[in-house]
């Protein structure tokens, strides 16, 4: 049903992931025994009300946070316990992030923003520049590569952020409420970009509480109280 997921090795695999927060005498169980696989080419949405633990799950999947227990594999590599340096390397090489707040650097051109992740790897500069220009052009920002974020509309800023997420050819892209800060028109624009990326075979995980956004996904995972209550292909 979905985009012919290759049932061999998943891009991302979580086994019995839990996450606890200790607050004073109390231990909060934010995530309880989460297991899931995400395969290459999938477009998955993770939905749930706020406080359900979906953001924590996203952070753990994106190697930004560590699970309390359980195992995690990314692109076939065991990512269960990583040093900070190793986690940074894996994030740089395999993961692209799209944030609700865009998180572009102010007073830095669109092009430089797209190139930001390449500061932390060894690919030749010129190659990356050409690629960044192409990504921005494909996203309709060819005329604006030297504009600063404050000279761009919200939708344009999010497109810059998408280009930035793509610059290192990630194995998996996490989008955290990517339309949350956009008006309807720009939101639709970003939605259609995500659909296009999916068609190109990218693996994308969208975290949202917006049902319209979730509806573009081919698979929906619903989280409630730190547990997966639904995981179905649409």
């Amino acid at each position: 049903m979905s985009n012919k997921p290759t049932k061999k090795t998943p891009v991302l695999s979580l086994k019995n992931i839990t996450k606890d927060y200790v607050m004073g005498d109390e231990t909060l169980h934010i995530l309880k025994n989460i297991s899931l696989n995400i395969y290459a080419g999938e477009l998955v949405s993770i939905v749930g009300p706020s406080g359900s633990g979906k953001s924590t799950l996203l952070h753990i999947m994106g190697l930004l946070d560590r699970q309390t227990s359980g195992e995690l594999f990314l692109a076939g590599e065991d990512a269960t316990s990583l040093t900070e340096d190793k986690a940074a390397k894996l994030r740089n090489r395999y993961i692209g992030f799209i944030f609700q707040q865009f998180n572009l650097l102010n007073r830095t051109s669109a092009l430089e923003n797209v190139l930001l992740p390449t500061l932390y790897n060894d690919t030749p500069d010129e190659e990356e520049r050409v690629k960044a220009v192409k990504l921005l052009t494909d996203l309709g920002l060819g005329e604006r590569i030297h504009n600063k974020p404050n000279q761009l509309s919200g939708g344009q800023q999010q497109r810059v952020a998408i280009a930035r997420a793509l610059i290192n050819d990630p194995k998996i892209i996490f989008a955290d409420e990517p339309t949350g800060n956009l008006d309807q028109k720009n939101g639709h624009e970003v939605l259609s970009i995500i659909k296009d990326l999916h068609k190109q075979g990218r693996t994308i995980v969208i975290v949202t509480h917006d049902m319209e956004l979730a509806s573009v996904a081919k698979r929906r995972i619903r989280i409630l109280d730190g547990q997966i209550v639904e995981d179905k292909q649409l």
Binding site: R93, N103, R107, L116
Partner: protein
């Protein structure tokens, strides 16, 4: 990791807040500026003193009475006053030294005294230096108008005087002093010459230009000054200074005990003064260095502000693959760029300032103090940048991304 890119981004973020960056570097600028200015003044003083010594005459050996005055060598008026009462040096020693010949080429005994000088225009406390004509050769003291006294003035106990430039200005204003008369302690003297101006006279020691030079025999007969303050001896050349010294000790020992005299040469005195001055210079630089430390704390302060202001940026960079070390280096480079920029500005201002004050005060900027100041400002950046940079590096990416 690309250091050129990191340095560039550091420059960009520094230029982003021009006023703040300037205020931050101000501490370092002032620190470096004062290090350079103060060491320049120290160096300038040293050079000045060396030049003054050159002026005093060359290959000079000084025999002073007793041991206590050995370091001052008779330049100090207190030592001179003391030597007047305790000195066992005498005319006989002078004769013995004169007979010695090579390596001693000239000998001049000196009796110093405090005197009251009076002319038609007024009176003034002064300083008398009674000696023989050889003194003018030894000390390079020339008469610019009139003449220095001669051997016959000495043998004839003539009441003649050569006055210093300041005496001429103060007590013979507008008149030609040569041929005029003045009284020294109520004894009338004829002015026969005016001594060449020796120095600005602003640094230590008795004022050479307020001196009245008189024949030594006259001082004895007319002013009843009889204790020899010190004896100046000139060695034939630079290489014979040591041998001259030995020879003097030999001759003097015939008549006097070892503790009754001491022999110093100019280079020793110069060395002592140089030691004092270089200690002074280091001390001044040390005081100035404190302001560099204060400057460093200013940098640390602003970098800490920058870290919390840019928490989101740090979180983003980490999410995109920056390791803690990448972040550390980025902030460290920023701190170092800030402090070295301050250092460079401070050096430029320091050199300009030192050049400007040479009009009033001897100041010579030294290359090594400039390099030192630059090195210290760089190090300040590193030391005071580490703490904020480590703080930035240790931020958790999700906390940082959530930060508003």
């Amino acid at each position: 990791m690309n250091y050129a890119v990191l340095t560039k981004s550091a420059l960009i973020s520094i230029l982003r807040n021009k006023l703040r960056s300037f205020l931050t570097t101000l501490g370092v600028i002032i620190g470096v500026l004062s290090v350079i200015l103060l060491t320049s003044i120290g160096n300038g003083l040293t050079v000045f003193v060396e030049e003054q010594f050159e002026n005093l005459g060359s290959n000079l050996l000084i025999i002073s009475p007793g041991e206590i005055v050995s370091e001052e060598g008779g330049f100090n008026p207190d030592a001179a006053a003391l030597s007047l009462t305790t000195s066992k040096l005498s005319e006989k020693d002078v004769d013995n030294l004169k007979r010695a010949g090579y390596p001693l080429s000239a000998v001049a005994p000196v009796i110093e005294g405090s005197i009251d000088i009076r002319t038609e225009q007024g009176k003034r406390k002064g300083y008398s230096l009674a000696t023989t004509p050889d003194y003018s050769v030894l000390r390079n003291t020339k008469a610019v108008s009139g003449r220095f006294f001669s051997d016959s003035d000495v043998t004839g106990n003539r009441k003649v005087a050569v006055i210093g430039n300041k005496i001429k200005e103060k007590l013979f204003a507008g008149v030609d002093p040569v041929g005029a008369s003045l009284t020294i302690n109520r004894v009338r003297f004829e002015v026969i010459g005016v001594a060449e101006k020796k120095s600005s006279g602003s640094f230590g020691g008795p004022d050479i230009d307020s001196t009245v030079y008189i024949p030594i025999s006259t001082a004895r007969s007319a002013l009843s000054q009889d204790k020899v303050s010190y004896i100046l001896v000139q060695a034939a050349d630079k290489t014979s200074i040591e041998r001259g010294k030995e020879r003097i000790k030999e001759i003097m020992s015939k008549r006097l005990q070892e503790e009754d005299f001491s022999v110093t040469d100019q280079s020793e005195i110069l060395k002592t003064i140089q030691t004092i001055l270089s200690t002074l210079t280091v001390g001044l630089a040390g005081i100035a260095a404190i302001s560099l430390v204060v400057g460093g704390i200013g940098i640390m302060n602003i970098m800490l502000v920058a870290v919390s202001e840019r928490t989101r940026e740090i979180g983003l960079r980490k999410a995109l693959g920056a390791t803690p070390n990448n972040i550390l280096v980025q902030f460290l480079i920023e701190a170092v760029v800030l402090s070295t920029l301050g250092g460079i500005i401070g050096i430029i201002l320091g050199i300009l300032g030192a050049t400007a004050i040479t009009a009033f005060f001897p100041a010579t900027p030294a290359l090594n103090s400039i390099l030192l100041a630059f090195g210290v400002s760089f190090t300040t950046g590193v030391i005071f940048g580490v703490f904020p940079a480590r703080k930035a590096a240790s931020l958790s990416p999700i906390e940082a991304l959530r930060y508003e």
